[in-house]
């Protein structure tokens, strides 16, 4: 599973990208967030306020209950501010 981070989420985690293999119990975006948040203080800080985090699974915006699977590209980032 390939995880990407953008904007201040990336800055807090400390890397732009990492490959992870969560346990089988991690089945959806919310489960993945909980699991990632325990990986380091940086991760914990990035995911401290879930309301400020958006996710994409395989480059589509995803809700917390969206399923995740090995091989997926999953990204976490703040609400977008383009335009």
């Amino acid at each position: 599973m390939r995880i990407l981070y953008f904007a201040w989420v990336r800055q807090r985690v400390g890397v732009a990208e990492e490959a992870v293999s969560p346990p089988e119990a991690v089945r959806d975006v919310a489960g993945l967030v909980a699991w990632l948040a325990a990986r380091s203080p940086g991760h914990a800080s990035a995911f401290a306020d879930p309301r400020q985090i958006r996710a994409a699974v395989n480059q589509d915006f995803a809700t917390p209950d969206q399923a995740v699977a090995p091989g997926d590209e999953i990204a976490f980032f703040p609400p977008v501010t383009g335009g």
Binding site: F6, A7, A56, Q59, F77, P79, V80, T81, G82, G83
Partner: protein
């Protein structure tokens, strides 16, 4: 015209050249609407740094442009969004829409810029003259602007 054109790039863009590309040699266009978003020097801003999600951002722009293409009878549609470091006065984003009918061009242009703000993966960081830096927070008013375009269920 095969459909909308979307680009994410560091380079600037040429409004006149992009407008000409949509209208040149055509006699079926009644209205060409455009919007250029620019970097403002608010509160001592020295630069905006724009980050995107390569791959997903282009897909999101293409999807939004295709949505506009389906909702209005457009003959041309161009969306260009810059990334990287931009100083005040520089253009950030261009939306151009052409149609036989002025209302379609104007509405599609407003739709696209509203949706870009809320649905395309870009993030802005502000750099200030004093060295400080902060990520721009998403605005509730942008969500409200985009929500006006939601189709009735």
């Amino acid at each position: 015209m095969p459909g909308p054109v979307v680009r994410v790039q560091e380079a600037g863009f040429d409004l006149a050249a992009e407008a000409a590309r949509l209208t040149e040699g055509r006699t079926d266009i009644g209205g060409l609407a455009s919007f250029v978003g620019l970097c403002r020097a608010d509160d001592g801003l020295a630069a905006l740094v724009l980050e995107h999600y390569p791959g997903m951002t282009e897909r999101a722009l293409a999807r939004i442009a295709q949505e506009a293409w389906g909702r209005w009878p457009l003959t041309g549609c161009t969306v260009i969004h810059r990334v990287g470091r931009l100083v005040p006065g520089e253009p950030i984003v261009l939306v151009l829409t052409a149609s036989a009918h002025r209302a379609a061009a104007l509405d599609a242009c407003a739709f696209l810029i509203d949706w870009l703000k809320t649905s395309a993966p870009f993030w802005k960081r502000e750099e200030f003259a004093d060295g400080a830096s902060r990520w721009v927070a998403a605005k509730a008013e942008d969500d409200a602007a985009a929500a006006r375009w939601a189709k009735p269920a």
